[in-house]
Subunit: 340 residues, 2 copies
């Protein structure tokens, strides 16, 4: 057994690093509804740049969720409201590359006379509008790229930066469960523990901060479960009456219970929205492509995890989406065991 | 960030290795109802010894659970029925040290004229009856000790051995969630991926092999949830009527949902038994010592995870155990956030 170190940097990545090293004032930007990978990468990147005596602001279209409070206590996350971004030489875009994903702050970001650097692990679609990028679409999380940048720059991760990278890793790999969990992910996670991360504390913060009403809510959702296609398709729904405080709901937990059924390949979770329409979340643990299914309804995402917001009444939307899924089951062979 | 290698071997461990190297015929023994750490360590130890041209039998008081079929396909797990163990020079006891835990095979094990070697990470209570031991009570899993033994003997882990050690690690750390998850655990897990482990496949095998009736069962249990002590104590129960095939039930999943509630410190799960009496499982995520509580009822385990089988009707047992727990809550200060 040998531990392979990550690939040497490519020329594009070297250029991105040179741009970072040469600048003084930074704005770190995330996408709307920033997830754990955005928040974690920003916290780590902020500390790494500060260690190099740079001035750093973090500005996102939305504030971090409460469960990342342990990072927000140590690093200041700004939320964009209006006007210009703070004066800066370089804007670093973490975990995304499409400018529209910055929502209301898109115009301010684009008009800022700064260089734009993308640090990301997603495949880019559309216009190339940045000046440099540090991208590896095989990396499990953007936080892993920040760890590589820190190593390349010779900056050791302090405890806060380590918690940031660890947050990225665990939220993007489903706490090391998904198929993107590779050797580098676990090896780096081990190093982060030596830098001060206590996994059980982060687990408690991220996944064990729910309301005491949460278990009963999960129970209600499960009691309404319906199967189709010889139990290969599992469908649950949440009416407006079932809805609890959205901050207290972790739909992944419910979806995990359904995915734990051996024969289940696809899970659909339908949520009635207050503004009308239905939010559909689709998850696959076989070759069934839920992204293709969700694109039929104007949504999108990944092959194994996708979603759509569909106009109409819950019962109607449900019937249409289930019918479309069944049509795909009829065309596709039995799924192979594989996930996310 | 530097990766620390594990502590050098102590003299006791060196002696155990010498005993292993000097012998030819081995029996690998686990405890009753062998868990993932037993099964995984045995698979790995078997492959390591076989690589050294040793003859190896695995014999346990009970067969492995179906979810470890991916190991049972590659390594032969024998189940003790009656009579003598196969002729052997050394019996290796994996993941336990108390002879009574071998149940019906205890007499055969004790009368076998072999040397006994304990490989374990538990604190031993009672008589010293073995000839050598390779023990580290700080190790997250016994499988980690087998990995250390392999390294010390210069035997690389093949894909099967790697799956065995990985199985040990994930089942004893709650898939890297519990507080015993340390840097060595994650670093070794990373190395195991490079030896051929695919984490998402093992996750599917271990945790996603449930019956399609499982989600509704979980829903029923959750609908009967009761809280006590300002929601710090959560209690659920399973009557004989609720019971489904015990092989399809993973009580940890239900307990996890209850532990995900921020203010919950202690979870009690009461199961009515067919033979009469009630099996109580107790979990703590604070300083509340559930082992002390379970000892009041003749059971035992760890501070954070313990259990007892109590005589009586479900309603009576429940009332007595809850009352005892409330008395302890009244004595103890607010728990600190911590979890096994």
């Amino acid at each position: 057994m040998t531990v392979r170190t990550h690939t040497a940097l490519d020329r594009e990545q070297e250029q991105a690093l040179a741009l970072l090293l040469g600048a003084q004032r930074f704005v770190l930007v995330g996408h709307m509804k920033p997830d754990g990978d955005v928040i974690g990468s920003q916290a780590a990147m902020c500390r790494v740049l500060q260690a190099l005596k740079k001035d750093v602001w973090i500005v996102n279209p939305d504030p971090p969720e409460g469960r990342y409070e342990y990072l927000a206590r140590e690093v200041r996350f700004g939320t964009y409201t209006t006007g210009d971004l703070p004066p800066h030489d370089v804007a670093v875009l973490l975990d995304f590359s499409e400018r529209s994903r910055t929502g209301d702050m898109e115009a301010a970001l684009v008009r800022a006379p700064s260089k734009k650097v993308v640090v990301d692990h997603h495949i880019h679609h559309g216009e190339v509008w940045w000046d440099a990028r540090f991208v590896d679409v095989k990396a499990a999380a953007t936080g892993l790229l920040v760890a590589r940048i820190a190593k390349a720059l010779g900056v050791p991760l302090d405890a806060t930066a380590a918690r940031g990278v660890f947050t990225s890793l665990v939220t993007d790999t489903g706490w090391f469960k998904y198929s993107n969990t590779d050797a580098e992910t676990l090896r780096v996670a081990g190093e982060l523990i030596e830098s001060g991360v206590v996994p059980s504390e982060l687990y408690a913060a991220i996944y064990q901060s729910k309301s005491h009403q949460h278990p009963a809510y999960v129970g209600r959702l499960l009691s309404g479960l319906a199967y189709f296609a010889d139990n290969r398709l599992a469908v649950i729904q949440q009416t407006l009456r079932d809805a609890t405080d959205p901050n207290l709901v972790d739909s992944d937990e419910v979806l995990d219970i359904l995915r734990s059924v051996k024969v289940v390949e696809v899970v659909l979770f339908m949520r009635e929205l207050e503004k009308g329409g239905v939010k559909v979340s689709a998850r696959s643990k076989s070759d069934f492509d839920v992204n293709a299914l969700m694109r039929q309804f104007g949504g999108g995402g990944h092959k194994k995890a996708s979603g759509a917001t569909v106009e109409g009444q819950l019962a109607d939307v449900r019937e249409r989406v289930v019918a479309a899924a069944l049509a795909r089951f009829a065309k596709e062979p039995e799924g192979s065991p594989d996930r996310r």
